[in-house]
C-alpha cells in the first residue's frame, strides 16, 4: 500500500524541497502545496520507472558531496594554472580507460557526473557492457595515477552508498 502511494520516497522529498526553494519562502501553505506536488508527480509517473534505486548509507552522501566540492575547488586552481602558464605544445591530453565495479545505473551516472564536474577530466563514454568508463584528461603525465585516484576517491565511496 505504501509502495503504491509513495513509489519514490526520495523523489517526493526532493520535490518538496525544490518547491519550497523555488517559492523561496517557508510557509505552511507552501509546505502543503509542495507535499501535494511531491506525492502526485511520482504517483503519476510511476509507470515509467518501475525500479527504485537502493541507497545503503544515506549519511555517506554528505561525506561524498563534501569531498567532491573540495576536489572541485582544488582542481579548478590546478586547471587554471595549466591554461594560464603552460605552453600549448606542452599540454598532453590523454584518454584514460577506467574499469568500474559499480553496477547500478544511478551509481554510474553519479560517478560520470563527478568525473566531469571535477575540472581536468571529462567522462566521455561507457563501454557497451558498462564495465569501464572512458575519461579524457586535459593534462597528465601519469594516467595510472589519475585512474587510481578516481577509483579510490570516488568509486570506493560510491560503492558504500550504492550496494
Amino acid at each position: 500500500m505504501f509502495r503504491r502511494l509513495v513509489p519514490h520516497p526520495i523523489l517526493s522529498l526532493v520535490l518538496v524541497f525544490v518547491w519550497i526553494g523555488l517559492v523561496n519562502k517557508f510557509t505552511l501553505g507552501n509546505l502543503i502545496l509542495g507535499t501535494v506536488i511531491g506525492l502526485s508527480i511520482p504517483m503519476i509517473t510511476a509507470a515509467y520507472w518501475p525500479n527504485r534505486p537502493k541507497i545503503q548509507r544515506p549519511f555517506k552522501i554528505a561525506e561524498y558531496v563534501l569531498v567532491v566540492l573540495w576536489d572541485i575547488i582544488v582542481a579548478n586552481v590546478q586547471v587554471a594554472m595549466i591554461i594560464l602558464f603552460k605552453r600549448e605544445p606542452n599540454i598532453r591530453s590523454q584518454w584514460i580507460p577506467v574499469p568500474i565495479e559499480l553496477k547500478s545505473a544511478e551509481a554510474i551516472t553519479v560517478l560520470a557526473g563527478t568525473i566531469t564536474m571535477t575540472p581536468g577530466t571529462v567522462s566521455a563514454m561507457l563501454s557497451a557492457d558498462c564495465n569501464s568508463i572512458l575519461v579524457h584528461c586535459l593534462h597528465t603525465d601519469d594516467p595510472d595515477a589519475v585512474r587510481d585516484e578516481i577509483k579510490s576517491r570516488y568509486e570506493r565511496r560510491l560503492l558504500e552508498i550504492f550496494p
Partner: protein, 127 residues
C-alpha cells in the same frame, strides 16, 4: 550593508570573474574540441559558484532572509552540465574518431559508440 558583507561579496565576485575569464581564455588557447570541452566545466563550477555565493550574502545582508534560489541554481547546473559535456564528447568521438584511436576498454565489449551492448541487458530491451 556593513563593510564585512561588502568585502566578502567583492571577494567572491572577483574570484568568479577570474575563473570565468580563465575558462573563456581556455576556449581560445586550447587546440581541439575535446580540450576546449574542459573550459566550460570550470566556468560552471567555481565561476558560477562564486557569483551565487556572493548573491546569497548580498540578499542576506540586504533583507535578512536566506535565499535558496542560488542553491537550486547550482543543483540544476550540477545535474545538467555533465550531461551536456558528455553529449558533446560523444558526438565528437562519433564524428571524428575511429575505434583504433581510442585505448582498449580492457573488457569483452568495446566502447558504446562502436559496439552493441550484450544481449539481454536493459539497453537492448524493447520498450
Amino acid at each position: 550593508m556593513n563593510f564585512l558583507a561588502e568585502l566578502l561579496i567583492s571577494i567572491f565576485l572577483v574570484i568568479s570573474g577570474i575563473f570565468g575569464f580563465v575558462g573563456s581564455y581556455g576556449l581560445i588557447k586550447l587546440k581541439d574540441s575535446l580540450q576546449r570541452l574542459h573550459a566550460p566545466t570550470k566556468a560552471t563550477t567555481l565561476g558560477v559558484g562564486g557569483v551565487l555565493i556572493a548573491s546569497m550574502i548580498y540578499f542576506y545582508a540586504k533583507t535578512g532572509h536566506v535565499s535558496v534560489h542560488e542553491l537550486l541554481i547550482s543543483m540544476f547546473l550540477f545535474l545538467t552540465a555533465p550531461i551536456t559535456a558528455n553529449f558533446i564528447a560523444k558526438a565528437y568521438i562519433a564524428r571524428n574518431m575511429r575505434a583504433q584511436d581510442l585505448p582498449s576498454s580492457h573488457g569483452a565489449f568495446g566502447w558504446s559508440v562502436y559496439d552493441d551492448p550484450p544481449a539481454g541487458s536493459p539497453d537492448t530491451r524493447d520498450i
